[in-house]
Amino acid sequence: MAVQQVPIADGVFTWPADAPQLIGSECPACEVIVFPRAVNCPRCAADAPRDRLLARTGTLWTWTTQGFLPKWPYTGPETEDTFSPYLLGYVELPGEVKVETRIVGATPETLQIGMPMELTIVPHRVDDHGREVVSFAFRPSEARGS
């Protein structure tokens, strides 16, 4: 039997979906796009931003490593003994917004600011009901045209 998968939270990305997308907000007044969903526009304070499904591809704007096990409220499955550093950064979605994200499928040596990135869904932890909690990440896009 397949392990049941649940998203880290409702309304962060479309799920289940063949091609999941992050769910942001677009302001009806000033049209600025933010992530995640906002109650009101942080730029002009207008009410009732509408959902905006964000692009699945973008470029790496900046990045770093997380070299030590984060304290609570981090809920990843690692312990001090099993922890290995992970990558994170901001990916710029053209014409939309830069989103902060875990990065997979790369190393500090292979990451380059400006490189193309694409959204992926990754396992985060197993919850108390044995379900796999999944979250979003970006990874370097498959090489194109070469």
Binding site: W63, T64, T65, G67, F68, P73, Y90, S135
Partner: protein
């Protein structure tokens, strides 16, 4: 601004067993009162800053508890918690209280006693969803690392320069009896230390620590009642993030970019003081990590973006350089007791302008100094001080 600093006190920074933050705040205040030659009962008002008591699991005290230690005189006492700019905010509020004419003589106090390791907080406190913390993106040091990485990419700052800044901090800390980390480290030792958040190694990032500072302030025209060496507070400004500035705890950044709150606070402060960055003889800026010192130099207007690489290589920011920065070792050598950190910078500038900085005294009788703090949740606070 017509405000003078006539007394200063400090409890050494570091990790101190068997003494609470409140104890340290009391000691620093008593020292500042002695320095000004006044009694607690002379103080008409006080602002007390501290952060730790607001964190989950803390057993530390609200600053208001200081009045039970120092005397229940009935004065106006206001507790301040304003993120990493808590001390800078307490001082600015105290200065504004005198500037407004409400009172003539008061005290700004900052103390904190933090536990080991990076700060842990509930994302909800910052209006953020819990998943942001659960997936491992809610760590303050990640922000600093990502900001300096982008800055290095745009402005040609090298990893070696990050190490130079940290090495200077520990050299200066070694000359400061109140500093926590007083052992000089070479650039090679700093670069080869454990990588915490690329490109920042263990010795390039400051740690939460413990300590206290107090400052007695009065109307500038009354300063000579208390001291023959008043230091004048010419400007004090606090600003928060605008939409589009690159801030800690940001699940997104908009495409449009705005200057940081440090830029706004520094500009307002220099304008209020009618003093230009080129007039400065000494500066203390927020070096939460060594890249922050580099970026804040430009954000405060002390140099242009990218000039830091040559300035630091040529020794401009050393104690004997053209603009000494973080002469007491900064946050890297003192750690960060949030409630006291911004006032430690002011304490150091007062010492330097009085000519009392001992082994780390800036040569040539410095007359104009500057301080800047920055931190979560996107707050900057600056001061300009003169003899």
């Amino acid at each position: 601004m017509n405000v003078a600093i006539v007394g200063i006190g400090i409890h050494p920074f570091g990790r101190h067993d068997g003494i609470s933050g409140l104890d340290m705040g009391t000691i620093a205040t008593q020292q500042a009162l002695r320095d000004a030659g006044i009694e607690w009962s002379d103080a008409q008002f006080a602002f007390g800053g501290s952060l730790d008591y607001t964190l989950p699991g803390s057993s530390e005290s609200n600053p208001d508890a200081l009045v039970s230690r120092l005397g229940l005189t009935g004065l106006q006492f206001v507790s301040v918690q304003n993120g990493c700019a808590t001390a800078g905010s307490a001082l600015a509020m105290a200065a504004n209280t005198i500037e407004s004419g409400a009172f003539d003589l008061g005290v700004a106090i900052g103390f904190d006693k933090h536990g080991r390791g990076a700060f842990a907080a509930d994302p909800g406190v910052h209006g953020l969803p819990s998943w942001y913390g659960e997936v491992g993106l809610f760590v303050t040091t990640q922000f600093f690392a990502q900001k300096i990485n982008r800055y290095m990419h745009e402005h040609g700052i090298s990893v070696d320069t990050l190490a130079s800044v940290a090495a200077k901090a520990f050299r200066n800390g070694a000359r400061n009896p109140n500093a926590w980390r007083r052992t000089p480290l070479s650039e090679a030792e700093i670069l080869s230390a454990r990588m915490l958040n690329w490109p920042l190694t263990q010795y390039m990032l400051c740690s939460p620590s413990q300590g206290a500072v107090a400052v007695v302030l009065c109307r500038a025209d009354q300063a000579h009642r208390y001291t023959d060496r008043p230091i004048y507070l010419r400007g004090a400004a606090v600003r928060t993030r605008r939409f589009g500035s690159f801030e800690v705890f940001s699940p997104y950044l908009p495409l449009e970019q705005s200057p940081s709150p440090t830029v706004d606070a520094a500009r307002a402060c220099f304008e209020q003081a009618a003093i230009a960055p080129t007039d400065l003889d000494v500066a203390q800026v927020q070096d939460s990590e060594s890249g922050a010192e580099i970026m804040h130099m430009a954000e405060c207007g002390l140099c242009a973006d990218g000039e830091q690489e040559a300035l630091i290589r040529d020794g401009a920011t050393e104690i004997g350089g053209s603009l000494p920065i973080n002469t007491d070792g900064g946050l890297l050598a003192n750690g960060e007791p949030v409630g006291a950190s911004g006032m430690r910078q002011v304490y150091e500038v007062v010492l330097q302008l009085r000519g009392d900085a001992g082994d780390r005294q800036v040569p040539g009788s410095p007359r104009v100094g500057f301080t800047q703090v920055y931190g979560a949740p996107g707050i900057g606070a600056c001061t300009v001080l003169t003899t």
